[in-house]
Amino acid sequence: MSTWRTGMLVTVAAAVAGGAGAWALTTPGVPDPIPVGDRVQAAVEGLRDSHVYIEPAVDELLTAEERAQVDAAAAASDPGVYVVVWRPSAQAGYYLEGEALAQIGAELGRPGLYLRLDANEIDSREVGIEGDYLSIPSRLDGDGDEPAASPAETLLSVISDNDGREYREADTSGSDYWGGTGGTIAAASLLGVLAGMGLALVMALGWLGVRGGGRKR
């Protein structure tokens, strides 16, 4: 009985110590969160009472009429759509436009499809939802033969395609690489069990070897 109790006590203590060690070793590799910059913050403020935010530098991209149209369509869409109109930049406190959209969605706290566009390109990001596949053109200037679409046309088309597609709310802030919370736990369990069995094999052989050698003497 005491073999069991001692063994399990040592095991649990070692597991806790090992886990703490792994945590401490991997912590320096975790980048700090990227602070929300003023460009992103301005978009967040603009989207609080509208579904469209246009940076003043590019306010010629949508007419007032188009803007109202897009706003109404985005508000009526399910899942909801939020549109940011500005030119892409890596010098605004975030790296990729998709990252900016994720920050905007997180700050705003409203799940939905977030779009960024200018005269040439569209970026998109689902924040807080996981939806069915949605085909979105990456460029507005047309693929080869197709004529260039206007920003308003493009937006209305994407919003229309988006409306009514299947989706569910989901935490999109987690790691895709490890497959979210469930995937992370599953990966840890699988790796842990396999490594544990390997370790046990080595330990058992080692122990029996030492024991056998000791008994022969």
Partner: protein, 448 residues
């Protein structure tokens, strides 16, 4: 070409750099937060911050030589503007910084920044011009009083900053380059002091930030490492515990199989002579269990020494209880000292030790009585009482037997070696005093 929403989020960029935000971040973020409150409200000033054409930019620069738009402000446009204005004040000559959206009237041309600088100079005159638009590339030009500004100073500083930057592929921001350029212009011909460069490099706007998912992946990876390690050790430890348990219990069964009948005393002694008693496997040499050959001499020496000390007691000491206990032990020892029996000699030895201890106890109530090790009275004094393996007896044992219970002391008879506890003697019944409080009285009664 079309892209799926879901795959977009996985888009990785090979040269993505990692931002390592240091202590200053907290301060900067706090500062940025308060600055933002002022920036957010749409005001007349905000309108002016988005000039569309070269003429708009010229107009802005006449009033304010630094133009930075949020698209180029690295997250805190106001702070960036103020820092550059401060640095420009130390330069001997006009300084113009433009970090903005590309002007509409130049958008389609090549070398926008250089063209813009030339156009601005024709309106504003000589000076240091740092111009960069969203579409780049940045252009630095110096004319007139600032013509001696050496751009190699900035280039060297940038090289140093990037070499020591965070992450795998650190990319300095245009803002950092502008700051270093204007700072270098304040002291033309001098290299930038390392501590100045280091301080700017530590600001959150110094490098293009990493992607969010790198942090999410790292956070998840940390959980995988932590849980995985813990689970691995749990699994390994459980399996090992099972293996150890299975192997030791099988060994015990094999060794215990040849043992004698059950019965509390004999049960306790089984396994003696081979391995250990009960489940504990003894690796101590079997010879340890034998009674020393010179036990009779040892016992006599002990007895004589104790006897001498007893005779030196004064009248007051003789009246105390330990003195009579010592006398009783010495008497009992004397009875068994000359019987030529090994077990009796051990008994005389133990009784002598007990007498010596009683003598030491005179006037010292905190000295404990002598208790032999039940396993072998020739062992050091018992310190603790434990369950004797393979039996229902609790008995005092020496520290070594507590850790690893050895074989019972063995007595050689004509035919075989027997554990002393299996003999029909006063010693087996009393465990040489391990099982009873007053060994001397038991011995005196037995050898009347």
């Amino acid at each position: 070409m079309a892209i799926a929403v879901r795959t977009e989020s996985r888009r990785r960029v090979a040269d993505g750099c990692r931002l390592s935000v240091r202590v200053l971040t907290a301060l900067f973020v706090t500062f940025a937060g308060s600055a933002l409150l002022a920036l957010v409200a749409p005001t007349a000033a905000a309108q002016e911050a988005f000039p569309r054409t070269i003429d708009d930019i010229v107009e802005h620069l006449r009033a304010d030589p630094v133009l930075i738009q949020p698209a180029m402000g690295m997250g805190d446009t106001r702070a960036a503007h103020d820092l550059l204005v401060d640095l420009a004040a130390d330069v001997d000559g006009p300084v113009y910084v433009v970090l903005a959206d590309t002007p509409e009237d130049l958008a389609a041309t090549d070398g926008v920044s250089e063209q813009a600088a030339a156009l601005l100079r024709s309106e504003l005159g000589d000076g240091l011009y740092f111009v960069d638009f969203i579409d780049g590339p940045r252009y630095v030009g110096a004319w007139g009083p600032t013509a001696n500004v050496d751009q190699r100073v900035t280039a060297e500083a940038l090289q140093y900053v990037v070499a020591n930057g965070p992450g795998e592929y650190p990319r300095a921001s245009t803002l950092l380059e502008a700051v270093l350029t204007v700072r270098a212009a304040a002291e033309p011909g001098e290299p930038l002091p390392v501590e100045v460069v280091d301080e700017y490099a530590e600001q959150p706007w110094a490098f293009i930030p990493t992607e969010h998912y790198e942090r999410a992946d790292a956070l998840a990876g940390r959980w995988v490492a932590t849980l995985g390690t813990g689970i691995a050790i749990l699994v390994a430890g459980s399996i090992m515990t099972g293996v150890v348990h299975a192997v030791t219990s099988r060994t015990t069964r094999r060794q215990g199989g040849s043992g004698g009948r059950d019965g509390s005393r004999t049960h306790a002694g089984r396994g003696t002579g081979r391995g250990g008693a009960g489940k504990t496997t003894s690796r101590r040499p079997e010879a340890d269990a034998d009674i020393p050959a010179d036990i009779a001499d040892v016992a006599r020496n002990r007895w004589e020494r104790a006897r001498r000390r007893f005779e030196n007691l004064n009248a007051r000491e003789l009246a105390l209880p330990p003195a009579s206990a010592a006398e009783e032990a010495l008497d009992a020892a004397e009875r068994v000292l000359e019987t030529r029996d090994e077990l009796d000699a051990v008994g005389a030895y133990v009784l002598s030790l007990q007498a010596e201890r009683e003598l030491r106890r005179i006037g010292k109530a905190n000295v404990p009585r002598f208790r032999p090790c039940f396993i072998n009275p020739m062992h050091p004094e018992a310190r603790e009482t434990v369950r004797i393996a393979g039996s229902t007896i609790d008995a005092p044992v020496c520290p070594q037997c507590r850790r690893e219970q050895g074989s019972f002391m063995v007595v050689r008879t004509r035919w075989r070696r027997r554990p002393y506890v299996e003999t029909n003697t006063v010693w087996a019944r009393t465990g040489y005093g391990a099982l009873v409080d007053n060994l001397a009285r038991h011995v005196l009664e037995n050898r009347r």
